[in-house]
């Protein structure tokens, strides 16, 4: 299967962004008729590699050969004309256009400048093929769910009849059934001679799909081997270059049931996204919120912090009702909630402002309008930066100059210096390197020991299993199941997230 000729070959590819080297001297090739998985930590250079192949960026040095001929892409359209199609991780659909237009416009078929109707029939066929028959072509994309949009993205990629198809986290929002359907189509494509490059963080997907596996680390191509040649632990060791043992801090003592909860959420509903959510978090606990993306777990935290309008239900802090919630009131000393938003770059910080200015932002204005800083808090900032081992040039540099992990440290310091009683985190380790992850886990564990109530929403099952005392798994806007102790295993988490364990939802999940 894999001894067909090389479809695309990279030699000596280097890509730098200013002082940052994203890829260094990479040699890589893939053959027609194979499914080739690319693995690596975030920041390993996978996405840069895919962007090079899709013609989005050009290499700083090195050569790309297609069918043995050196080639330079003028842009994504040029690459697509050569049969290289990428389905990007960040969804690239135009929200106000219909599904049909989004698909057809990726490879417009026109006659005398007018679009041909035949394109829409093909688009329909592509959607049907991946099991997305119920998505109407004339439905605007912004009305679709995240999973449906992902299916449209895949259909759009198929529509372009690729020779090389790049699937970058293509199925991250899809349920198990949909994933299986997509995979069967991918296998058909492979058998028809397409080369599929496949990026996923779900190991079982890689195992079930890939023929070959390449591992990247720190911008270098570490190793390529046939699927099955290296076991799971070996792959992880290749990916991170060290063993995983110390990633998670040792387990903490469970908090007694009798301890009064610090944060109680009762009957919380919001629009169509939350339905009667109830949970309690006790001081000293790390409470996890899991589930597939878009099932309401992020919304709950936003609702508690006061970002959403029109939330019904009650929130109690330390036994006292907390109504009329706004971020300003949430951070006040008597309430004491801190909130680490999901998207660091646009929600968590102001990229062009300095590290210190970003850090001081939440604490400003706590001590009246004129005093600029409070000595206690300044000392706290310093201690936190030291504790978290922030790596930086100068504290006056724009925060955008830091790596993702270090940005997250600044964001944590910004809130922890306010001495919150309860901290809400939305996927705090997304896109962060392993070392920083370990530091953040240790910090959260220590904070819990010190009596803080922590609510951690995460898409990483390992994190939920190893760090949390209890985990609420969301399904369709409500808590399908709460797992703790022995029951808190990856298998249970996944089945609850798919709605399999909740009796009420068992039939819905099959749909």
């Amino acid at each position: 299967m894999s001894n067909t000729s090389r479809l695309i070959e990279l030699s000596g590819i280097t890509k730098t962004y200013g002082p940052v080297t994203a890829l260094k001297n990479v040699d890589f090739s893939c053959a027609a008729g194979t499914i080739h998985a690319i693995l690596g930590e975030n920041g390993a250079g996978k996405s840069t590699l895919m962007k090079l192949l899709a013609g989005v960026i050009v290499p700083t040095a090195g050569e790309i050969r297609l069918d043995g001929n050196a080639i330079h892409f003028a842009g994504p359209r040029d690459a697509a004309d050569n049969g290289l199609v990428c389905m990007f991780q960040e969804l690239s659909l135009m929200p106000n256009l219909t599904v049909g237009n989004n698909i057809v416009l990726s490879r417009p078929q026109s006659r005398f400048g007018f679009l041909c109707r035949s394109g829409y029939q093909e688009a329909r066929a592509c959607l049907d093929r991946i099991g997305a028959g119920k998505i109407a072509l004339d439905c605007p994309v912004h009305e679709l769910t995240l999973a449906e949009r992902q299916l449209v993205e895949i259909a759009k990629a198929l529509y372009q009849k690729p020779r090389l198809l790049i699937l970058d986290e293509a199925t991250s929002a899809l349920g198990a059934d949909a994933v299986e359907k997509v995979f069967s189509v991918v296998r058909e494509l492979r058998d028809a001679g397409t080369c599929v490059l496949f990026i996923s963080h779900r190991f079982h997907e890689v195992h079930s799909l890939a023929d070959k596996i390449s591992v990247f680390r720190n911008g270098s191509h570490v190793q390529t081997f046939a699927a099955g040649a290296v076991d799971h632990d070996g792959i992880v060791a290749l990916m991170i270059g060290q063993s995983l043992e110390q990633l998670f801090p040792p387990p903490r003592k469970p908090i007694a049931e009798s301890v009064a909860p610090l944060l109680s959420v009762r009957d919380m509903s919001w629009a169509d996204e939350l339905k009667d959510v109830n949970f309690d978090v006790r001081p000293g606990e790390i409470y996890g919120l899991g589930g597939l993306e878009g099932h309401g777990q992020q919304r709950v935290l936003e609702a508690v912090f006061g970002v959403l309008r029109g939330v019904s239900g009650r929130v109690e802090i330390g036994g006292k009702p907390f109504g009329r919630r706004t971020p300003f009131r949430s951070k006040s000393e008597e309430i004491g909630i801190a909130f680490i938003p999901e998207d660091r770059k646009t929600e968590g910080m102001i990229p062009s402002m300095s590290i210190t200015d970003n850090m001081r932002l939440a604490g400003l204005g706590r001590d009246g309008l004129l005093t600029q800083d409070n000595q206690v808090r300044e000392a706290h900032y310093k201690a936190l930066l030291h504790r978290l081992d922030l790596v930086y040039g100068s504290l006056e540099d724009p925060v955008a100059s830091l790596s993702g992990g270090n940005q997250q440290k600044v964001l944590l310091s910004k809130w922890l210096a306010l001495n919150p009683r309860c901290i809400l985190l939305l996927d705090p380790t997304r896109g962060i390197d392993v070392k920083t992850k370990a530091q953040i886990y240790q910090l959260l564990s220590d904070l819990a020991e010190a009596g803080m109530a922590i609510v951690l929403q995460s898409t990483d099952y390992e994190e939920l299993v190893h760090l949390c005392d209890r985990v609420a798994v969301f399904y369709h806007g409500s808590i399908a199941r709460e797992l703790s102790g022995e029951m808190l295993t990856p298998t249970n988490l996944i089945s609850a997230a798919m709605g399999l364990s909740g009796i009420a939802h068992a039939t819905e999940a099959a749909a």
């Binding site: 706004t326 971020p327 646009t346 968590g348 062009s352 300044e378």
Partner: protein, 326 residues
Amino acid sequence: MTQSIKTLPRLSLSRYAIDPAIFLVATGCIVLLVIGGIVYPSFLSPGYLLQQLQIASFLGVIAAGATLVILLGYIDLSVPSAITAVAVLTTTVGGSSNPEIAVLAIPVGLVGGALIGLINGIGVAIFRLPSMVWTLAINSMLMGALVFFTGGFKPRGVTPPLSITLALDRTLGIPNAFLFWIAVILGVSLLLRRTIYGRYVFATGNSEKAVFLSGIRVRLVTVLTFVAAGVFTAIGAILLAGYANQAYQGMGDTYLMPVITAVVIGGTSILGGCGSYAGTVVGALFITLLSSILSVLQMPEAFRQIVFGAIILTMLLMRRFDRSNR
């Protein structure tokens, strides 16, 4: 382990003070002075230059409000009608036959300006309509209200004595208007650099979302900024009424373009979040000198407008705003 931070850096002035745009415009001012001096030697006489400073003061005070609004990422297009409205209001109250009411002319004018700002702020911050549309509509409504109120004729009234003193008189040979402007410069610079409000303005201009999620009352900051802009416009209008010793229809109409030009060429990003009042000050001086030279060269009004537009575009092209988030 040994890496320890002695103190976190203070708010660094350097980051805001070194703005190439300010040097560029300052150089432009010098060039204008040289050209003016060559064409018309008395251009460089102290009397003429002080008069330029006096005229620039009116523009500079009004542009202080515009600077705040633009730093926040919005724009205020209601300036022309607001100037006329406040001037008419002030002179009308000042012309009251009851001296106890006439004394209140300036406070009433300031409150009027603040109210216009409040309406703008509510529209932008609470109803969340684009500031460009909302303030333009307010401008139009104010203009209509003024015509209705005055019947389309020159309003009768008396300019309050204080506004004449401030706008026309001199202290030790220096125009009071310029001295007043210096006070405004100090006040606004302190406000922007030394107060928490100033931090909020810069941060909000950069990313309103991040500021909101940091638990800051963004709507309050926005409304306050528009109110402050309304008050600065009102002060400018009262000075202008004093300078002309009257209020008249359309007296603010020629100010919209110069105010925004002064802010933008002074290095403040039209998208908000970066800039300084110092830049606006230099910008206001530049525009005043430019306008003066164009009249010395007997340039027709129509052509002057074209030059203003051309300068905004040139300055924007030279600066190429570099907002990191798109």
